[in-house]
Amino acid sequence: MNPLTDKQLEKMLRNAPSGGDLDRAVQGVLARAERDGLVDVAYAPVDSPFGKLLVARTDRGVVRLALPSHRGHQQTEEEVLEDLAQYVSPRVLESPKRLDEERRELEQYFEGKRDHFDVPVDWALTPSGFRNRALHAVARIPYGETRTYGQIAKQAGNAKASRAAGTACGRNAIPLIVPCHRVVQSGGGVGNYGGGPEMKRALLDLEGAL
């Protein structure tokens, strides 16, 4: 038998054995992580008539809902996940099963078959103070009704801060479930929306608010 040269041996070693199913291995990690309670933030894509949403939850409730990108105004999926890792927990994993209830309620909402959300909310990404009070006021606006930015500002404790109320809505981490689309301009315009003014108008139309 001819002795192997180093080159031949190295070449054979570079031809690594294949095998092992990566998808199955990753699913195994996820299942075990869920079983052992190691998934602090579970997320999944959710289809909507406006495009793909990204929904994330903790044990406490929905912590983030990202709308489809609108002219670069929305964060990318990567940025959304990086923020969750930095501000909530780095144990962020895609776990669609954990989002089944959220997906179901959102689907029903878009079909006009649901006028409120039962899934709880986790406010971890909302800073305390005015923004927090403003978004809690937004969360109480009933289906099919609207409020002006000034009204929200007043409920948050500062009637003059309608601009700040607009900013609070613009930075809402959980749109749709915290319905900032129901906050409109006092002059009658629908105002800005993370998913674009067309989406805002369509949502208000769906709810019969226009």
């Binding site: 002795p3 690594a16 294949s18 095998g19 990566l22 291995a25 962020v92 994993l93």
Partner: protein, 167 residues
């Protein structure tokens, strides 16, 4: 932009390095047991992750854990497969018909990988990282927590042994 200390979402580690870690484990313990070791590796990583102080060298960090899990695996396998008191148990880690990795391997030379599996742990990991995972000596040094010279030496010694046993 994220700075170097901000930990990326754990999903990104699975997406970016899962394939390397699985490849390393398939070459180290065989395809049949690689998925179990993969799960052990990433679950251990996930447990420790929030306490990690920075996000540098996450690939090396994962491969360090995978290296340890491969050692655990070979030890457990040796205990199970070898009769008590046999010379093989005393020697430890000698490849026998019972602890060779699954040889129904597509691609690669089964006999060679059985010989790789029988190398001492550090040489085995060094050889696998160098050739199967295509890692630099600096990367191997980080993953095996040793100097670059020591990494070079482990690869060299591993190759010599393989030539002796396999050629």
């Amino acid at each position: 932009m994220q700075n170097e200390t901000a930990l990326p979402p754990f999903q990104a580690l699975l997406d970016e390095h899962g394939s390397d870690v699985l490849g390393f484990l398939v070459a180290s313990v065989g395809p049949h047991d690689a998925e179990d070791c993969f799960q052990e590796t990433f679950i251990a990583a996930l447990r420790a992750y929030p306490r990690l102080e920075h996000a540098r060298n996450l690939r090396s960090w994962l491969l360090t854990i995978a290296h340890r899990k491969a050692i655990d695996h070979h030890r457990a396998r040796g205990r199970r497969a070898v009769p008590a008191g046999s010379p093989e148990e005393v020697a430890g880690g000698t490849p026998s018909s019972n602890n060779r990795p699954d040889t129904t391997v597509a691609g690669g030379d089964p006999e060679l990988w059985t010989a790789v599996s029988g190398l001492p742990p550090k040489q085995r990991s060094a050889v696998v990282l160098r050739f199967a995972t295509d890692m630099s000596y600096a990367g191997i040094a980080k993953a095996l927590d040793c100097s670059e010279d020591a990494a070079r030496r482990s690869v060299h010694e591993g190759l010599q042994k393989l030539r002796g046993e396999f050629a």
